[in-house]
Amino acid sequence: MEQAEPVKKGGRWQGWLEERLGWDRLSEFLAHKKVPVHSGTLWYYFGGITLFLFGIQVATGILLLLYYRPTAAEAYESVQFIVTRVEFGWLIRSIHSWSANLMVLTALIHMFSVAFLRGWRRPRELTWLSGVLLLGLTLALGFTGYLLPWNTTAYFATKVGTDLAGSVPLVGPALARFLRGGDEVTGATLTRFFGFHVALLPALMTALLGLHLALVQRFGISTPPLLESRGDVPQMPFVPNFVLRELMAWYLALGALGMLAALFPWPLGDKADPFAPAPAGIRPEWYFLAAFYTLKLLPSRLWVLESEQAGLIGLGLLALWWATLPFWGVRPDGRERTRLVTGTGVLLIAWLSTFSVLGYIE
């Protein structure tokens, strides 16, 4: 009969764990993992900060679930109860809301830094694609979570967002009905969005995040091509040097988050009233402002398309163009289309920032 090899190394528990988990192979892998050191190393921390904020979202989201009730009759009142009666409930809700916004911001910074530092080049195309999908899921989490307090702005934002989904060619009407749970935004929509927000989207996010991180491990952290061509780029060990620096970045992010959440508690607004008109000055969250302002500027008809169809198709094509960057960013002979990539990135940032500001001040 075959017998297990006797434990040789370390103490009793270390040996026990090594035999069952193969810890030595992992520590061997980590000991050889390096991160390039150059003037753009700072940008490498933003992916990790986004991950940290996702962790904060999960933790504070679970705490909010202890009191939140996902029905049109009780949602607003349950959030009101959380922020007025539950011990530190206001802080937990404020952290959840601020962290969601900071997570979108750091994900955007991470995405643009990867684009400009050329981290999407072969063989990292799938890492880029999974990252863009993660940003899409983050925005979907933001959109579904926004409705949950059942306040006026959330109600109209959901009406607009789901109506826009109804303009998708062919499947639009069915999609809008599926999202709303009927023809109108009602309590049925709220219950659905709750399910998407706390179960479906986090599950997809966790799976995709696992793939994204596995791909980052598989191919290592990318060195910008200009530095790579010079050769001999200095490296720092992942453990402990980069990990400790990343932890400092998390600590700073936590400080900024705590300060924002405590000094500027997230407002609750008025309870949604389906019979009241949309209030003057209504606008979506900052990360949808550029799209919102673009839709505002479009004329009633653009060629044969109604404005919302034209807007949706335009924004959809723009997102698709950006998501497929690794496939058009390199010529068939392997040379990069540097100017096209940088130009597209700069134009995209210019559009996002100017239209967001205009959407905010108008």
């Binding site: 109209f156 607009v160 389906p274 949309a278 003057a280 209504i282 505002k296």
Partner: protein, 75 residues
Amino acid sequence: MLIRVSESEWRAFGATCTHLDCTVQYRSESQQIWCACHNGFYDLNGRVVAGPPPRPLEEYVVRVRGEEVVIARRN
């Protein structure tokens, strides 16, 4: 929404903006119907005056019978 244009004339429209489904409101200073979501304007006949709405507001038939105002779908 029900608007009394003059002593004897009433008009009724669906209050849903034809652009992206927000609920519109009457603006007395400009005597127009306005959607705050994307700044769409309609006149008091429900026709689009400015902004992105692609179609006029849905209009209803109004009949005044003594003290009662009866609103019905067209056709």
